[in-house]
Symmetry: D2
Subunit: 372 residues, 4 copies
């Protein structure tokens, strides 16, 4: 398998995760193209050089356009703040690169559509960073639903709740700058909406209640000057899936005490699945119809029988972590490029997720059901 | 404390629970009036006599009016199917009895209001069987909210889901006869709505999606003849509380695998509480603001420090069961009678809960927010 | 079924539990003799009268011998401190009564044997208060082991740990008065030893390490005067069962944070069972040999399919509490009397348990394996 | 920081884990020397070349001695079967390399001591693969114990149980070849013994019961020919720590259903810690002495406040996996080399652990307490 030259733009939380993932991918997935870490960009030459050293890139730059211009780079990972995505993505696409962009594609649906269409026109592979669905247990969950193991699906409860904004004294920050798009409904909501789509398919209609809980925040940690918050802190959705079933979805970044409550309960006439990212190596499965004395939810622990866990460890119960999910994501992306087909979720899927987000916002404003 | 003569009408699931509770109440609550089990009624003289023997009632009858007419009876427990409640309750009230009626008061809001007004006109004590909120840990939860220990409340997720109707082959039954009122939104929904009100106060507005999942059921176990189902199987509500916060409530009797998922997550700016009736002796509490290395949800186990657990057992961790909650309920009812004041939840509270149920049904029909 | 007159000696923690159990037994077990609460004894006439009122006994006395002498009493429950058991039990047996005695039978093995032999000579029914094994889920566990569902048993880990003595400032008390017998190895150890025997049969040999952790305690709460502790705080045993398998057993009353860690993990070649009294309505079962992708421990929740849960509640998941276990215990005792056969655990079984306790103490002193 | 050239011998389960860890280490730990993957050895040139490609080593060889002879290699990781360790380690030490060797050092205590002394004579850094104690939460646990947050330690229960040998039809394999040393007491026991030492310090004395549960196994999967098993399947130890407290330790590879039950409960007069590797991102902490209504075990979730979690992810709750623990291990090893001091656990520590293993085996044979 020939090499693929990687360029990385942005070296923060997600930039590091991409770097670790690219460095680990081949070890866990021997059949993918060899990722060659060609060039990394950050806002200063110094930061970029430091990142190149630490993450093992061959070269670095303070000018992200050089990453895209670099002929040795075939794949570009974009992990900058949301408001930069569009320009970078369009430039990378114009240069014919395969592009991974962190979620959300852009602050507005129109811009995202432009990016989708540009990518599809170019015919390159794309991916957006919905990493949590790369969990081997969730792949099995999706397969179980698809195979009818749960029977007709009758309900879905999805949540992505964390608490990083719960404290009214947490200051105003880029995260709540409306130029970056909506608040939690986009930031966390897109993960659980994407997971719902991954498991059950399209969402046809939504009826949402989306709110700003903390209306003013200090301009800085400890400041007395306050600044109004314009984006949402919590979103609660009634949803109707295209397949016929309904459910609820919640996104919440003021859920005091929760660090990673990305969770669902998915129920069918013949069984149920319960999952939380808080214990990402477990999936709880109830199967109707056995010996009533011994029925109950079974705690399935991830192991090599759940692909692609075995690439990381040959023994069950050893546990994958967050960075391993990111490695699966990147490895699948590279594998898809080799096959000429996005492994997904691609830009189109990200756009479909964003359409649900936008429909939810509209629904909340109009206080009514809205078709996606 | 003088005795209170008890009459019981109905000896099924709840009738037995009432009987056990009355028999145990004084042992756990030494200061209440002594319940004297005077008379029990069932549909046949034989069944009534058997119940009298088993539950320790002095006399029995196949005519429920005799229970009410019995001058030694001051307190009447009504545990018959919903459609009988109104006639029995009104008769008992007319006779000046204190009345405990199992939930819901009646299939329709109008009838329930009539019962409330009759009770208030008589000035007797009333109670409706919302037993789960009698849990000592939930009393503490309510007190913590009221005392501001969680700060401003920012969200509530409530669920009451079970699976006794999940199987499409489960036959048509009295439980889904529309003459008994709505389906799960009344049957289980009233419990979680009542719990939400218990913890947080009134619900101002609802936006609901209420559905029948299994549209036809066999007329009997194993029958091929099918009968249309007219009542709801699942209800999903967006709710707005009078205090300002919002949340979601779900009632569901097709939640495959769940036997008693009466659960909530209640969040404030300073802390959160997580509870499920599946582990009714535990309350999980997160308190913001301590040493970040050692923060997390604390699993509080019920003990004598949580009143009135100590009446049942002087040692912590021994655990209360469902019938103990019922005992607390009945003991509080009797204690309230002695003080001339319903301990609650009284008929008025049951009516308020039913108003939320009715508003949810209207909301779902109209596909819009409805003020309660 | 004819009545059985009940006499109760002692009205503390366990006395109340007996009273509640007798009052509830017939409601949950319709086929047992009707328990008639005839007479209760406490140390003063006033306390006894108060107990009679509260628990519903017909008469009361400050002289426990009157309970035994009362011809209307056929069954005597003895819930006094350990050091009184022998005299009371022998007197009751001499009077031909059926006797329930709280554990342990007596502080010494010799005295216990005398009590066993007296009971067997009289041919009456006896029972000792090992209430936890009355759990419907544990009855199923025992049946599963006996039926070979777990295959050849390969190991047992049993624990009964609580923390009521963990604080060095907890004062010297009757519980650690050596005249009452050993410390935790008898108090809690007997429960887990009894549970091990219930599930797996006899223990052949032990190798124990038994210790006093807190060597001196204040003579009273807050006192500066200290008194030496002579009994054990923790006991750790290696055990060899007669059936061939081995395991460990721990008894511990200084296990800080644990309120009711009466727990075991029982493993066979084909499966495992995991239980803790902290969640007494759950049994976790692993069954080897299915689809490897979906295997794991199944959380079985108690329901009417687990006899005799259904006597308390017709719906699963509603949960039994500690007092319900006590009700099962007493109902089985009364049912056994009606059939002329102790339902167990009888005096002989209590003696067998105590032999293990004594062997453990000897083993620890000799620092070697000891045959029971 | 200058580079360190890495040589890897063996590319199986642990070999891959080492490779991934070396590749990730600098990303998570920016201050360590840059690991340069110089040469990898496997049994055939083909396998070695494949590993070099997949894991990113510059060169490969079928002759492990070339790794050691390579002047560009300063650090050698040895992940071959136990019986090869001694020769390879001694050769690497003789060449002045820093050596990481997977556990156990060697099948016999005498050989291990020879290896320890050779390393100490050379003054190089060594490490042995006790990866689980690299968990950030366990580092905090150790610090809490050391700081006295739990008060005087009163007990420790440690377990490492898995089930990879539970099936009697699992064939005879290298893992149970006695030439590789003892069975589970060395394989898994060394992990939990090492963890106990990490948390509490030295073990002074043991009293063990060590058994072979399945005495014969098929010579191959599905074979009818059986071969006797000479090594142990389960080890149960009573232990006495040098600091004065006691406890139990179990190692078990026939614990049906358990995939990674590396767990402990560590108790002091003022608090307790409960951990299981099955949920390696959680530590449960009970702190005595607060508001009794709100006390209980707190579930602490790993986050950047627990060093060095933050090197992997800046947000809490995202979870580390097994390979991340391995990365911490290797990064600490390299960091220690830079500082001229083994970060540990070094060969000496591995030898101390093995002494406990050997003492346990002797104790079980002699059926008595043995000083370590």
């Amino acid at each position: 398998m020939k090499d693929l030259g990687i360029g990385l733009i942005g070296t923060g939380f997600m930039g590091k995760a991409h770097a670790i993932a690219y460095r680990t991918a081949l070890s866990a997935f021997p059949d993918i193209p060899v990722p060659r870490l060609v060039m990394v960009a950050d806002v200063t030459a110094e930061a970029a050089a430091k990142a190149a050293h630490q993450y093992g890139f061959e070269t670095s730059t303070a000018d992200w356009k050089q990453v895209i211009a670099n002929p040795a780079v075939q794949v570009v990972s974009i992990t900058t703040p949301n408001s930069f995505h569009k320009e970078m993505v369009l430039a990378a696409l114009a240069a014919g690169k395969h592009v991974h962009c962190e979620k959300p594609l852009s602050p507005t649906l129109a811009d995202s559509l432009e990016m989708v269409e540009a990518a599809e026109a170019k015919g390159v592979c794309t991916q957006v960073g919905f990493n949590y669905i790369k969990n081997p247990l969730l792949k099995m969950a999706r397969d179980m639903v698809a195979a009818g193991e749960l029977g007709v699906i009758t309900g879905f409860r999805g949540i992505h709740a964390e608490d990083y904004m719960h404290d009214p004294q947490s200051p105003w920050t880029w995260r709540i700058d409306p130029s970056g798009g909506p608040g939690v409904v986009a930031d966390l909501g897109s993960h659980i909406i994407g997971m719902a789509r991954f498991l059950l398919g399209g969402i046809a209609e939504v009826n949402a209640d989306i709110r700003t809980i903390i209306s003013k925040r200090p301009v800085a940690r400890g400041a007395t000057e306050m600044k109004a918050v314009e984006v949402d802190d919590v979103a609660r959705l009634l949803v109707q899936f295209e397949r016929g079933c309904a459910g609820t979805i919640e996104a919440n970044w003021v859920q005091t005490g929760r660090k990673m409550q990305l969770a669902f309960e998915l129920t069918g006439e013949k069984g149920s699945l319960v999952f939380t990212q808080e214990r990402l190596n477990e999936l709880h499965f109830y199967k109707a119809g056995g010996d009533s004395r011994q029925m109950g939810f079974t705690k399935i622990e991830a192991g090599p029988q759940h692909e692609p866990y075995g690439g990381f460890c040959v023994a069950g119960g050893h546990q994958l972590g967050f960075n391993d999910l990111k490695t699966i994501e990147m490895a699948e992306f590279l594998g898809g490029i080799a096959k000429g087909k996005s492994a997904g979720p691609d830009f189109r899927e990200a756009y479909e997720i964003q359409k649900v987000v936008e429909a939810a916002l509209a629904s909340s404003r109009q206080r009514s059901w809205i078709k996606v």
